[in-house]
């Protein structure tokens, strides 16, 4: 058996509220992003890659939750950056790619089904506060998404039901 290429490597799934960091090789995946937002950060020099699966915009009390540090955008984004810096990344080199934040449900009377939009806004605000640039995104709309982040290159691939995979 030859070593698996990055595309064939089994992705490490990052579940809701989780964040994961890889260095140089391997694949991180967030499956079935609806209103959730997947925040992919990459340092192209150290090749440290991080992915956070953000569930809600705001922690309100600003506290980090043990076991689910990426539950909220306002605490999850800084926690992801800290974890990547600890793994050898430099904050000023980090580039962000955002995926998700859709609104899947149509009609009805749920004024509150706007979590997706609010998640994206909260993630962007948290990144801006840390001086991290968003270099690509596939956010909003009405479709659920699955994303993969390749640690070797920082490439992000997004899939939706019934469409070709596309690269960010």
């Amino acid at each position: 058996m030859s070593p698996a290429s990055p595309d064939q490597a089994t992705p490490v799934t990052v579940r809701i509220g989780e964040l994961r960091v890889l260095k140089g090789r391997g694949v991180l995946a967030a499956i079935g992003l609806g209103s959730c937002v997947g925040v992919a950060l990459y340092d192209p020099v150290s090749r440290v890659a991080g992915l956070a699966h953000i569930f809600l915009p705001s922690s309100q009390n600003g506290r980090l939750v043990a076991g689910a540090p990426a539950r909220y955008a306002d605490t999850g984004v800084p926690a992801l950056v800290d974890a990547m810096v600890a793994a050898g990344a430099r904050r000023e080199r980090l580039q962000a790619k955002l995926v998700g934040g859709a609104q899947l449900f149509l009609r009805g009377d749920h004024a509150t089904l706007e979590v997706g939009r609010r998640n994206v806004e909260a993630v962007r605000a948290a990144l801006c506060a840390l001086g991290i640039r968003v270099v690509a995104q596939d956010v909003g709309g009405s479709r659920g998404r699955t994303m993969r982040l390749f640690a070797e290159t920082g490439r992000v691939v997004v899939t939706t039901l019934g469409s070709e995979a596309r690269e960010l």
Partner: protein, 206 residues
């Protein structure tokens, strides 16, 4: 006791489908962390059509009817016949995909009505058992991969460190025409009173 709620819902669905028999499984109940709910319900990329309602009143919570995509198509055919058509929907802000096309306005309306009838009959039965009134909102409809649909609903539930109580019932029609699930997640403060009223004991958290 959850059986009776699901029984009402399957009866309502059978009637919508011209009295074709729709069976149900005994409800499964579990207390789960938010990230565990998706895997408990099914394969994450499964294409589903969902009708979701928020429930207020004596029992507060979130209810969703999930149908396999092929089942939703079969039910629409049954409900609308030639009237369903394949005209694209006029709800341009967010067309609902269904297989290779998007649903028409009439079909979207039919899916809302389907969700309304099935979920309301389920809630009515729960209400009769518990003496608590449950009022469903107008349904919202989505069609997408299961995990994304569920997570969007769970975002409305919010995060509870105590986990969420999920009640799941499988619906099965004659042949493969109907395959779906009913999921009800009571709001956090309403969990214990519902369990007490229904005489059910959830699977213990490990």
């Amino acid at each position: 006791m959850g059986n009776i709620g699901a029984g009402n819902a399957t009866t309502a669905l059978s009637q919508l489908l011209g009295d074709r028999l729709v069976r149900m499984t005994a409800p499964a109940v579990a207390i789960l962390d938010i990230p565990e709910v998706g895997a408990w319900v099914g394969e994450p990329h499964l294409p589903v059509v969902a009708a979701y309602v928020q429930v207020t009143g004596g029992i507060e919570g979130h209810a969703v009817l999930l149908l396999a995509e092929a089942s939703a198509q079969a039910i629409l055919q049954e409900m609308l016949g030639a009237w369903g058509g394949d005209r694209p929907g006029l709800l341009a802000s967010g067309a609902i995909p269904l297989g290779e096309r998007t649903v028409s306005d009439l079909e979207a309306s039919a899916l809302m009505e389907l969700g309304n009838v099935v979920i309301t009959s389920y809630l009515n039965a729960l209400g009769e058992l518990t003496g608590l009134v449950a009022i469903p909102s107008v349904p919202s409809v989505a069609a997408d991969m299961l995990e994304a649909v569920l997570n969007s609903i769970l975002a409305e539930v919010g995060w509870s460190d105590a986990g969420v109580l999920a009640i799941r019932t499988h619906l099965q029609g004659e042949g493969a025409a109907v395959e779906g699930q009913l999921l009800f997640v009571p709001a956090e403060g309403h969990l214990s009173r519902l369990i007490q009223a229904m005489g059910m004991v959830g699977e213990a958290r490990s």
